[in-house]
Amino acid sequence: MSTYAMLNDLTKCIGCRACQVACKEWNDLEYHRTYFTNTRDNPPKLEAATYNRLEYNYLPDTDPALPQRWYYRRHMCLHCEDPACVAACPVEAFVKTEEGAVVYDEWKCIGCRYCMLACPFTIPKYEWKSWNPAVTKCTFCFDRIGAGEEPACSKVCLTDAVIFGNREDIIADAHARIAAAPDRYQDTVYGEKAVGGTAVMFLSTKDITLDDFGFRTDLGEASYPSYSWASLSKVPYVAVIVAALMSVIYFITHRRMPGAEKK
């Protein structure tokens, strides 16, 4: 089975928040009372009961003749191909399924919160108020995928800003969109290569650089787990060397010197 992927075409997003609502509905997440802030983002941040959130970016008018320009970036787990959270977890509470979803099992989790520190996109959130807290994040609607459905967010998207499918098809589609309108898109599919590739990918607009839009372009293409594996893979050698060295020193220092038999 090929793994699934999702494309977010930010030039097509109209900021209607249907995906936010669909996410809350499908996952049965608690709603917040909303309130005015100096941004249009609502809820104000990703948290335990918010897996998916639109961030509203207003581009300042450079040319008064142009219409106001708003861009919306979706904030969610990217379902990395080789995820840092999976490698960080001491007890296999996170796994990457063969469909491509990175899912979490709260009955394995011990609550060390290393996954929160490890994720390069700071996605996992915590139920700080619970006596038996769980880590939460987007599940890629793996329960829907398993039943042959697409995730709730892509299903409700009105403008095809969010589409879902096989990873190869999605990447091909993304490059086709760029090729068809090169003056409209940044010439990158974000997530095709970043941190070893992700299942959730983004197409962004030429109007604003990826950095200004809040994408982490500094993360490189090596997967995060490869960094910690560099030191972890040495552990058995270190263990054996230290133990052997100590034993050798022990035998040298406790060797009976000739003529020094008696204490």
């Binding site: 960080a88 001491p90 007890v91 060390c112 807290p133 787990p225 910690s228 030191s231 100590m246």
Partner: protein, 377 residues
């Protein structure tokens, strides 16, 4: 000599009250969640308990494996009087670390999952297994003292025969554990200031643990000789101070090189974070090196102060690497709540009380050990 289990000194009474207060706070933490007593947030998921109870606790327990190695492996017999106090401190230190871990984990009731569901690509697993197995080793190293205390000679002899293998395994686990705490933070490249972040963090943590291991033994010996009137030979402490100064000098030079290699100097701007960095380096490294490297070695006051400052420096290093150094990059300020601090203080107080009770009842110090050994022969 006063053989009561705990002497009701004013300090002990305060300590006991603090422990009780800590238990009440812990009850609130377990029933209402971490959010009820801590300032931890999604932006700052690791706080004071990890930084102080775990990171510092493990470092300060390093005296155990340093002295065990010196006596059992390197066969330097004159340090033998130090071995039981050092093992006991390490044992209790690790017990406190475990208490700290169980307070901090969101689901401590599932902590045994590290044994039955291990995920071997996780640095956190390495940390967890090292805590568990080294605690077991320290327990087995402590048990002979207990058996001797209750005069169970057969059990004492049986465990005593394991001394050398246990010492070797203990050193191996300590090396892995001290360095793995550094390795945990190698994932935080984006969050941690390059004044602390380095791909060599595992080595830095190991080296500073060796340094503070010496300092802990010096400090503790001087403290207990004051409290219990048991003098340790000046000679022994002098050599330890020398060892401490040498490791500290190597550590200091290495840190300077390491920071240059990671571009730490270039990133430095005056402010909160760099102030703490300089306190760590000047007060926690340069001053104690000066105190311990020269004639100060044989002066109990200078030596005690030097050892104390080394301990202070390493504690600050762990706090900085886990908390202060992250503040700039995490986009969120974290300062522990009074509850977090009080619970940590209560944990330390409990440790001090248990230490006293054990010292009062079991043969830990040299003369008692000799007496007990004579009684068995």
């Amino acid at each position: 000599m006063d053989k009561r289990i705990l002497r009701p000194t004013p300090l002990n009474i305060v300590a006991l009250l603090l422990v009780i207060f800590g238990l009440i706070l812990a009850f609130i933490r377990y029933t209402q969640g971490l959010g009820a007593v801590t300032n931890l947030t999604d932006e700052f998921p690791w706080g004071f308990w990890i930084a102080f109870d775990v990171m510092c606790g493990v470092a300060l327990a390093a005296g155990g494996f340093i002295i065990a190695g010196t006596v059992h492996i390197f066969n330097l017999k004159r340090y033998k009087p130090l071995i039981r106090p050092a093992i006991l401190t390490a044992f209790l230190g690790y017990a406190l670390v475990i208490v700290g871990v169980l307070l901090d984990l969101g689901r401590p009731w599932f902590v045994y999952h590290v044994l039955i569901l291990p995920q071997f690509h996780s640095v956190m697993l390495e940390v967890g297994l090292c805590v568990f197995f080294y605690f077991l080793v320290l327990f087995l190293e402590f048990l002979p003292m207990w058996f001797q205390g209750i005069k169970n000679h057969a059990a004492y002899k049986a465990l005593h025969a394991l001394t050398i293998p246990l010492a070797i395994i203990g050193i191996m686990l300590s090396v892995l554990h001290q360095s793995s705490l550094g390795a945990l933070l190698t994932l935080t490249k984006e969050q941690l200031s390059p004044l602390w972040y380095s791909p060599n963090l595992p080595f830095n943590f190991l080296l500073s643990a060796v340094m503070v291991g010496f300092a802990m033994v010096i400090f503790e010996s001087q403290w207990s000789s004051k409290t219990y009137g048991r003098a340790i030979e000046n000679d022994i402490l002098k050599s330890l101070a020398k060892g401490c100064a040498i490791v500290a000098a190597i550590y200091f030079i290495w840190r300077m090189i390491d920071i240059s290699m990671n571009g730490g100097w270039a990133s430095m701007s005056p402010g909160f974070v760099s102030t703490w960095f300089w306190i760590e380096i000047i007060v926690g490294a340069i001053i104690p090196i000066i105190l311990l490297i020269g004639p100060g070695q044989s002066n109990p006051t200078a030596r005690g102060l030097g050892a104390f400052l080394v301990i202070f420096g390493v504690v600050l290093n762990r706090l900085n690497a886990t908390l202060t150094g992250m503040i700039d990059q995490m986009g969120g300020m974290y300062f522990p709540t009074w509850q977090e601090i009080f619970i940590s203080i209560a944990v330390v107080c409990a440790g001090i009380l248990v230490f006293q009770a054990i010292v009062q009842t079991l043969p830990i110090f040299d003369e008692e050990v000799k007496e007990a050994e004579a009684a068995m022969a």
